[in-house]
């Protein structure tokens, strides 16, 4: 088996983010690392974040930093990754890619504790960079400019110190003196030597300054001073005339200003009033904003509160450190303050947000200051505050994030054309159930009912130079309705259009006149109101029309073509007639090329399954240039011209191309390239779109021509970052459509469906999925589908939080105290704060749950109807119980039908050692048509049931290391059979026939068999590799697919002969008495597939995402990405793609210096998987490189692109 791996939805979480001016000049951009992806974002004029560039680097980005050489206008990006190299990137605005300027190797690859890459610090003047490891190693690179003002980088200078753990590093701003770097370090050499543990308990963190002597070209430890042991982060304080220099040390509960030769200035971080006393406050992210006259810091705590920190200083002396409450937003991994007045918050979990500053916190608010710091006998006096609504910030955009995907299932619950992906995302109060559908999201602007059922719709401008459309023309069976577009859309009668007849086409012709084609003629409406009418000869009627701005071709019944042109005076003149052999099915004229008088090509589709391309040149008018036969009569034709592009904001290099698209009656979209000179067609591709013949319309998307195909669902064909993408829209079936542009909606679509007129816009181009989010209460753990009733049952649990009642009570108390009227109603609590725009002043989604002691758990079981997004039943577990596993089970010959089993743990604690009070299995029955759950009984078990599964009319449970079979009793579950021979903890159980596939938390899969005649469970095979299993799925009788927590995906298979032997063992004696091997089972499974995804896979499922497509494996990851592995069906494809992959590895090495092969083999050598993400980088290569690779493969670049498109279309 060979698999093709493809990421369907790129990672949506963010690890770190930096901001700067990467394209130069005044523009402000944000560079974010999403694990293995580097993105460049920019807020546009409307305050929406746009992704300019997204590059998969095939490595792990651990840290990012930006720097600017003195006097330069542009920022560079430094990337610390797992490649053992430091990479400096520059964004190339013209060609839209990251240019690798330097790549310096310093150590081994991989994320190791002593290989630098974890921390990056930059000298604020851009003269040096320090790259540090978690332990021991730190390297300093000197950055400079050569005579041609190119960036140079020195060889590394070492600042190593062994037996030292580093917590944070940063550059110290000391003007143009020698660059200094600060680090929080802990020396563990003594603690390591001392067996009594005294030294370990007395270990002390230090703040150390490293000075780079630019004259001597070496690094020395300049100064070291004790800091709080809770210190975790350093923030640079401006210096060199702008400020006092030095650093802010963020420690537990305190922020301390430190500098060499300066006394510490310490201030306490204000605490939330409801925070338990034993919990500290840590700063998790920081941002500094500097203007000419002032600077301030924004520090965010682990609870989401942002504090503004200001320093009152007199030259180099800091007099006072003030910490003032600023606002509360969800916890971030990085904060970026943009010079344009935006705050970008890269959320730790859940959606990221872009805020605009309303104020910079000058109003009085709760403030802690170093001047008022009080020390009493119990320690420092804390300062309390109460979180409030956003005052200084206002959210203007958010970027969706699925991180982390906890569980996912692909199922067609809504009976749509393609299945939906149900995923449990997020954490705590920001967790959601997201329903992903392949396709682009649309936002509906208006829907209005029409007096009849329209057959077609057009929009026209009055003048070619107009920005917006003037009329919407709707044709009915025997009338035409004209609507004018203005402030409102209303019917007009003075437009000059004939309204007593249906229309066949309406368009702008010439520069400023309108044309209406109706069955009996052509009506030409001049700008001054004059109307010219051309009538069809005899009683013949017009059947089809094709037109562009200067040319019109009509087809009469019987197959006669008449060709008109707009002459110099703006008159429509008949030029040529041509008799076709039969009726014309459809026709289209190519758009007029820039700077030309006419287009050369007319495409005519006939019912004899052919498409002819005719010339419109005066020399060879109506000559057939080429002929293409197709599988079914064409229904609709469209020429799509792709302008030549040389990079730019949104594309790679490609020459101008003319594509002819044809919608065939069998539902296939057929696409060929038309030679711009000869009219010959080549490179035909076809794709099935739906059950109806696709109708094709030209619309505008992001200022470019795109194609809308209306089959049984609408599709959009457009160019995104150099790729032509054909993506479905998540919208209902449409009949006819036209582009729409008005001042409210610049790039929209107007369409008719049924008797309604709909105006909508297409959003978030380039995305594979659009999502519907349903908020949940706690961190979702797992869910099951009740296929009969089409409902989802979700278990949610959180540690260290209060139950809903307690929270509500405390909220009420808090409001009473604050004097706010009680308005947080119970309804809202139900869904964990549905809408933060509501009048609830403290939505949990925004502010997080009030924190409780860490041993307290809250948990609930929810029955949710995904159609109505309503929760029909929500059971909150009592008594500190938390749910961890769930399954539906049908016990044999028992009266209840389908029951629900939920495994729970009571009083679970992970620290200092994993412990719990009890484990239970709850059995619920469904009532009221599956909407409500009722507890049947609850059975105490001696471990935590982490895996449950139905098996032969009974319940299999993995309780700690015991696999046990339960039957349903009257008052409890009855233990019927067990096997205690599993090594650690059972986390997954799958069954097929009499086989049981058990996944152990750290020992991969165990294959078991249940023998009914002996009532025994036997383990007959296991894996030789100790895998830390995070997800598993059953592939076939002998094969399991799994993912481990190091980011690997693998398949194991029981060899065929062993499998046969086990199945043909009638007495069962062999299985019973066989000797184990390597302390395990007698047989071993073989690994057949191995692939390093580079992200922890949390859920796996065998599924097909397209109707009639082959089944593949779909997975979701912690970073919020969705990918698929598709088995190849032919050996040729395997050869082709493995060669393509090989060439790309050589010719196009990953951006951050990690070797592609080494990355995909990070833990185990990659086996039989081809990396589609690498193959899909082929179109981004320069044209000559593409040609070179294509030559090596004995193909053309177009063929390779076609192959890539084909295999992608097989998956989604």
């Amino acid at each position: 088996m060979f698999l093709y791996s493809l990421t369907l939805q790129r990672a949506t979480g963010m690890v770190c983010a930096i901001n700067g001016s990467f394209s130069g000049g005044k523009s402000q951009e944000i560079v974010v690392a999403r694990g293995k992806i580097l993105d460049l974002l920019r807020p546009d004029d409307n305050g929406k974040l746009q992704t300019l560039l997204s590059v998969e680097i095939f490595g792990v980005i651990r840290s990012l930093a930006q720097f600017r050489l003195t006097g330069a206008q542009k920022d560079y990006i430094v990337v610390g990754s797992d490649s053992g190299r430091v990479v400096i990137l520059e964004y190339n605005k013209e060609k839209n890619y990251f240019d690798k300027i330097h790549q310096e190797t310093f150590g081994k690859s991989g994320c190791r504790r002593i290989v630098p890459g974890q921390y990056l610090a930059i000298d604020p003047k851009g003269r040096a960079a320090m790259i540090g490891a978690c332990e021991k190693q730190k390297l300093v690179y000197v950055l400079n400019r050569d005579t041609a003002t190119r960036l140079t980088i020195s060889s590394p200078l070492e600042a190593h110190k062994s037996h030292t753990i580093t917590y944070s590093i940063c550059g110290v701003d000391c003007g143009f003196d020698n660059p200094i770097f600060a680090a929080i370090e802990l020396d563990y050499s003594e603690a390591d030597q001392d067996p009594t543990g005294v030294a370990a308990s007395e270990a002390q963190k230090h703040l150390t300054f490293y000075e780079l002597d630019l004259g001597l070209n070496h690094v020395s430890r300049k100064w070291s001073d004790q800091v709080d042991n809770g210190a975790n982060m350093l923030v640079t304080v401006p210096g060199g005339g702008d400020g006092p220099s030095g650093v802010l040390v963020c420690a537990e509960n305190f922020v301390i200003y430190k500098n060499q030769g300066h006394p510490d200035v310490r201030a306490v971080i204000p605490r939330r009033a409801d925070l338990p006393a034993e919990r500290g406050v840590l700063i998790v992210s920081a941002a500094m904003h500097k203007q000419k006259s002032m600077f301030f810091f924004l520090l965010q705590t682990e609870y989401g509160d942002i504090f503004k920190v200001t320093l009152d200083h007199d030259n180099d002396r800091v007099k006072e450190l003030k910490i003032k409450y600023f606002d509360t937003i969800p916890v971030t991994s990085s904060l970026c303050v943009l010079k344009s007045g935006f705050l970008f918050a890269a959320s730790e979990f859940g959606n990221h947000a872009l805020y605009q500053f309303q104020a910079i916190g000058d109003d009085p608010d709760v403030e802690a200051s170093s001047a008022t710091l009080m020390e009493t006998e119990e320690g420092f006096q804390p300062v309390f505050f109460q979180p409030r609504k956003l005052k200084n910030l206002v959210r203007i955009d958010q970027v969706e994030s699925l991180m982390p995907i906890m569980d996912m299932k692909v199922i067609n619950l809504f009976e749509e054309e393609t299945p939906q992906i149900f995923s449990l995302c997020g954490r705590g109060p920001r967790s959601t159930l997201r329903i992903l559908r392949p396709g682009l999201a649309i936002s509906e602007m208006a829907v209005s009912q029409l007096p009849g059922v329209p057959s077609a719709v057009w929009t026209v401008k009055k003048n070619v130079n107009d920005e917006f459309d003037a009329y919407i023309v709707v044709s009915f069976a025997n009338a035409t309705l004209v609507l004018s577009i203005g402030e409102t859309v209303e019917e007009v009668s003075d437009s000059g259009f004939l309204d007593t007849t249906p229309s066949l086409a309406v368009s702008l012709i010439g520069d400023d006149s309108l044309m209406q084609v109706h069955p009996s003629g052509i009506r030409h409406i001049r700008e001054d109101g004059r109307i010219n009418e051309w009538r069809t000869p005899g009683k013949r009627t017009i059947a089809k029309v094709g037109s562009n701005r200067l040319q019109v071709v009509i087809a009469l019944n019987g197959g006669e073509l008449i060709y008109f042109e707009v002459d110099m005076t703006g008159q429509l003149m008949e030029v040529e007639k041509h008799e076709m052999s039969g009726d014309v099915a459809c026709l289209d004229i190519a758009p007029v090329p820039e700077g030309r008088q006419r287009s050369r090509f007319l495409a005519v589709g006939s019912y004899d399954n052919t498409i002819r391309i005719l010339s419109l040149d005066p020399d060879d008018c109506m000559q057939i240039l080429s002929l293409q036969s197709v599988s079914s009569p064409p229904e609709s034709l469209l020429f799509l011209e792709v302008q030549a592009s040389f990079g730019g904001e949104d594309g790679a290099d490609h020459p101008a191309n003319l594509f002819l698209n044809a919608g065939l009656q069998n539902g296939v979209l057929f696409r060929t390239v038309v030679d711009m000179v000869t009219g010959q067609v080549s490179d035909a591709r076809s794709r099935f779109l739906g059950l109806r013949a696709p109708k094709l319309f030209s619309i505008t998307v992001r200022g470019r021509r795109a194609m809308l195909c209306l089959s049984s669902r609408p599709w959009l064909g457009y160019i995104h970052q150099g790729h032509f993408l054909l993506t479905p829209l998540s919208y209902e079936t449409l009949e006819y459509a036209a582009s729409f542009s008005s001042d409210q909606c610049a790039e929209g679509v107007v369409a008719v469906a049924g008797d309604a007129l709909r105006v909508f816009t297409i959003e978030r181009l380039g995305e594979t999925f659009n999502e519907t989010a349903i908020p949940l209460r706690y961190t979702p753990r797992k869910f099951v589908v009740q296929p009969k009733r089409k409902s989802l049952i979700i278990i949610e649990s959180d540690q260290g939080a209060f139950t809903a009642e307690e929270r509500e009570a405390s909220k009420k108390e808090c409001f009473d105290a604050a004097g706010i009227g009680e308005n947080g109603n119970a309804e809202q609590m139900e869904n964990g704060g549905e809408d933060e725009e509501n009048n609830d002043p403290l939505s949990d989604e925004q502010y997080g749950y009030p924190k409780a002691e860490s041993e307290r758990w809250v948990s609930c079981i929810r029955v949710l109807d995904p159609r109505t997004t309503q929760t029909t039943c929500l059971l909150e577990l009592q008594d500190n119980e938390a749910a961890f596993s769930i399954c539906t089970v049908n016990f044999h010959d028992k009266e209840y039908g389908t029951l629900l089993a939920v495994g729970t743990a009571k009083g679970l604690q992970y620290w200092p050692k994993r412990s719990f009070d009890a484990g239970y299995i709850h059995i619920y029955r469904f009532k009221e048509d599956g909407k409500v759950l009722e507890l049947l009984h609850k059975t105490q078990v001696e471990g935590i049931p982490l895996a449950l599964c139905q098996f032969q009319g009974r319940l299999l449970a993995g309780i700690g290391s015991v696999l046990r079979l339960y039957d349903l009793g009257k008052r409890r579950l009855l233990r019927k059979c067990e096997n205690k021979l599993f090594p650690n903890t059972i986390t997954s159980i799958h069954t097929y026939r009499d086989r049981i596939y058990v996944g152990d938390i750290q020992e991969s899969f165990h294959y078991c068999k249940y023998r009914r005649d002996e009532n025994q469970l036997y383990i007959f095979a296991d894996d030789t590799v100790p895998r830390w299993l995070t997800a598993a799925t059953h592939v076939d009788f002998d094969t399991m697919a799994g993912a481990d927590k190091f980011g690997n995906l693998y398949f194991v298979r029981l060899p065929q002969d062993v499998s046969d032997e086990i199945e043909e063992d009638p007495t069962g004696g062999k299985i019973k008495w066989e000797q184990g091997k390597l302390n395990g089972a007698p047989n071993k499974v073989e690994e057949i597939i191995q692939f390093h995804v580079g992200d922890v896979v949390t859920c796996l499922q065998k599924a097909s995402l397209i109707p009639g497509g082959g089944e593949g494996l779909v997975y979701g990851t912690v970073m919020g990405s969705v990918g698929a592995l598709l088995p190849f069906t032919s050996r040729d494809d395997v050869d082709f793609f493995s060669h393509l992959e090989m060439h790309l590895r050589q010719e196009h090495p990953p951006l951050c210096g990690r070797d592609h092969m080494a990355y995909r083999s990070a833990y185990f050598p990659v086996k039989d998987v081809i990396d589609g993400d690498l193959c899909e980088q082929f179109p981004t290569l320069p044209v000559d490189m593409q040609r070179k690779i294509a030559d090596e493969l004995d193909r053309t670049p177009a063929e390779i692109l076609k192959k890539l498109e084909e295999i992608r279309n097989k998956i989604i």
Binding site: G969, K970, L974, E1014, N1015
Partner: protein
């Protein structure tokens, strides 16, 4: 021009050859050889299964002394097997009509252990097909019922074998179904955690949990 005349003598020659082959083969017993997919022939009677290239060679082989010896041996074996089958059918018939009490007594006498004794008794009764004689035996009722159950089962097996010749096919099918049901019920009991002791009685496995009001299979199966 060929010696056979006509334009294409090749085909005719082939026909001729095939006819000759057919004639040669006709004389040989059909179940004594097999035609292999490659056109060769294998003799099935000789113990080492010699492969022969052409029918002519087969015909020569068949006349050989070794083949003849093998053939007669085969025939002998066939005869003795037929005899055995007849004997067994006859035995089964007679046992269903009349008990040879002597034989069962002899068997009882020859064995020492009570269990085997019981089993033999039961078996002989079953073979006799009479109404249960165990009621006369000096045993506790549940053991008896147990044996009765056992007996019924065996009876059905015996019958299903024996009645192939005599009984109507529906009845045989019914009985087989019965046996299947019974087997299924027994498996269900085993998987529910019941075990059999040496007397064939059901008892609860101490590692398995049961509902407090679960029925004892010894009781309800005995009826």
């Amino acid at each position: 021009m060929s010696v056979f005349g006509g334009d294409s003598w090749g085909r005719e020659a082939q026909y001729r050859k095939r006819r000759v082959d057919d004639l040669i083969i006709e004389g040989i017993d059909g179940c004594g050889y097999k035609k292999l997919p490659n056109g060769k022939l294998v003799c099935l009677l000789c113990p080492h299964h010699p492969v022969l290239d052409t029918p002519l060679m087969l015909s020569m082989h068949v006349k050989g002394s070794r083949h003849r010896a093998a053939e007669s041996e085969q025939k002998e074996r066939e005869l003795s097997r037929q005899y055995q089958i007849n004997k067994r059918i006859a035995l089964a018939d007679s046992s269903s009509t009349a008990v040879s009490s002597t034989s069962s007594e002899v068997r009882c006498g020859s064995t020492k252990t009570p269990l085997i004794e019981q089993v033999h008794k039961a078996a002989s009764e079953i073979l006799a097909g009479e109404s249960p004689q165990c009621s006369t035996m000096d045993k506790s009722p549940d053991v008896r019922s147990d044996i009765c159950y056992y007996k019924k089962e065996n009876q059905s097996i015996a019958k299903s074998n024996a009645t192939e010749v005599v009984a109507a096919p529906e009845v045989a099918f019914q009985q087989q179904l019965d046996y299947k049901n019974r087997r299924e019920r027994e498996l269900k009991l085993i998987s529910a955690g019941w075990k059999r002791d040496a007397h064939g009685r059901w008892f609860k496995d101490e590692n398995v949990e049961f509902d407090s009001d679960e029925e004892d299979p010894n009781v309800y199966l005995g009826q």
